[in-house]
Amino acid sequence: APTLFAATPRTWRNNFHLAQAYLDKYYTKKGGHQVGEMVSRGGNSMVKKIKELQTFFGLPLTGKLDQSTMDVIKKPRCGVPDVAN
């Protein structure tokens, strides 16, 4: 898989986990009372979810956790997913 982003190993790991939790929370379908998610066919690889996030926020569609993508991931926000069903 293409390297998700260029960073120092420690930052790499932190960012990766932060991003994984973010994508899981806001770009992944869950069970229970739907607070709002979009159904996405055939499951989402991480790269695909990153691209969904980049599309939503109008970022360059790299599929990588580049600086501008990580900046968005680190911003305080609403807990309702961006892809709603």
């Binding site: 939503f56 305080p76 926000r77 609403c78």
Partner: protein, 376 residues
């Protein structure tokens, strides 16, 4: 804007809400005020009414929760996720939860509860996230000043797609036509525009507009009379761009285009000089507003949506300027037409509004009509 799939909405136009658990970081009264203002932001655009109840099950249950609070969307402590809300529906539908681990505030020193609540109630009424960065329904936090808040266009379109527009109130016929107001101050009271310049001069406050200026005592609204600028400042003629006074020097500065005049009281001292004396870059052709801050002894010059800081002690422009006005004085909306400091507050005149900015709190504490300063 985006709606939730299936476009869930409320089928009634009066909704109840109840604040069942309060924030740790704000008083109950402050929470109630912010929540009420946040709901009003939506009811101003659509025919929905919100009624607060204090017991039982409301359509919109509002609560401040910590961590896992039983709805399979646990909160995550300070920052990160701030709040969430559920789309319209029975039971959990419409309910709105705020992360109690956040520092909630009515101002800017923390997360502004009005800003987040207005966003969450958008969800509770049926809006999903918008991809428009200027929209209230954009997912990431951006402070909105509750005073003078206007729902962004994208959000108005979204909520009216669900509930239609709020009809203008055509109830009982309008009150019988009032006798025309005696033209106390000819046209400024009615106009929606602001002043060109405002400054202290000695013990008086001066307001400039076109060819007219008004003088008044700081604490007295009486005896405000318009007079022509030429009657007191023949060289200035009309349309002063900006003005400020350095009281400890007994000197005032009046700006028009790329020139300025120095006065002692109403006495102009010599011919006009160029604003480049202050160190402005050549592309600056005029100043929109100027205000002298006693404490740091610096003068802020506003040009478009930026501002410069001039050190009156060293008599030179400070480095790292211009800066964005909105970033430094967020909550003050629109271009600055005039500004003056009084008793630790900066009054920013922008169009028909005057923003009272608390220098210490770094926050707008109230908004009034500009024309009220001259007795309108």
């Amino acid at each position: 804007y985006r709606l939730f799939p299936g476009e869930p909405k409320w089928e009634k136009n009066t909704l109840t809400y109840r604040i069942s658990k309060y924030a740790a970081s704000m008083s109950p009264a402050e929470v109630e005020r912010a929540i009420e203002m946040a709901l009003r932001a939506w009811s101003s655009a659509v025919p929905l009414n919100f009624v607060r109840i204090n017991s039982g099950e409301a359509d919109i249950m509002v609560s401040f929760e910590t961590g896992d609070h039983g709805d399979s969307y646990p909160f995550d402590g300070p920052r990160g996720t701030l709040a969430h809300a559920f789309a319209p529906g029975e039971g959990l539908g419409g309910d709105t939860h705020f992360d109690n681990a956040e520092k909630w505030t009515l101002g800017m020193n923390g997360f502004n509860l009005f800003t987040v609540a207005a966003h969450e109630f958008g969800h509770a009424l049926g809006l999903a996230h918008s991809t428009d960065p200027s929209a209230l329904m954009y997912p990431t936090y951006k402070y909105k000043n509750p005073y003078g808040f206007r729902l962004p266009k994208d959000d108005v379109k979204g909520i009216q797609a669900l509930y239609g527009p709020r009809k203008p109130y055509l109830g009982k016929p309008t009150v019988p036509h009032l006798p025309p107001r005696k033209p106390s101050i000819p046209d400024v009271c009615d106009s929606s525009s602001s002043f060109d310049a405002v400054t202290m001069l000695g013990k008086e406050l001066l307001f400039f507009k076109d060819r007219i200026f008004w003088r008044r005592q700081v604490h007295l609204l009486s005896e405000i009379r318009p007079r022509t600028i030429t009657s007191s400042f023949p060289q200035l003629m009309s349309n002063v761009d900006a003005a400020y006074e350095v009281a400890e020097r007994g000197t005032a500065y009046f700006f028009k285009g790329p020139h300025y005049w120095v006065t002692r009281g109403f006495q102009i001292q010599g011919p006009p000089r160029t604003i480049y004396d202050f160190g402005f870059p050549r592309h600056v052709q005029r100043i929109d507003a100027a205000v002298y801050l006693k404490e740091p002894r610096k003068t802020l010059f506003f040009v478009g949506d930026e501002y410069y800081s001039y050190d009156e002690r060293k008599r030179k422009m400070e480095k790292d300027y211009p800066k964005s006005t909105e970033e430094e004085f967020s909550g003050v909306n629109g271009q600055i037409d005039a500004a003056v400091e009084l008793n630790g507050y900066i009054y920013f005149f922008s169009g028909p509004k005057t923003y009272k900015y608390d220098i210490e709190k770094e926050d707008v504490v109230s908004v009034v009509k500009s024309s009220s300063w001259i007795g309108c």
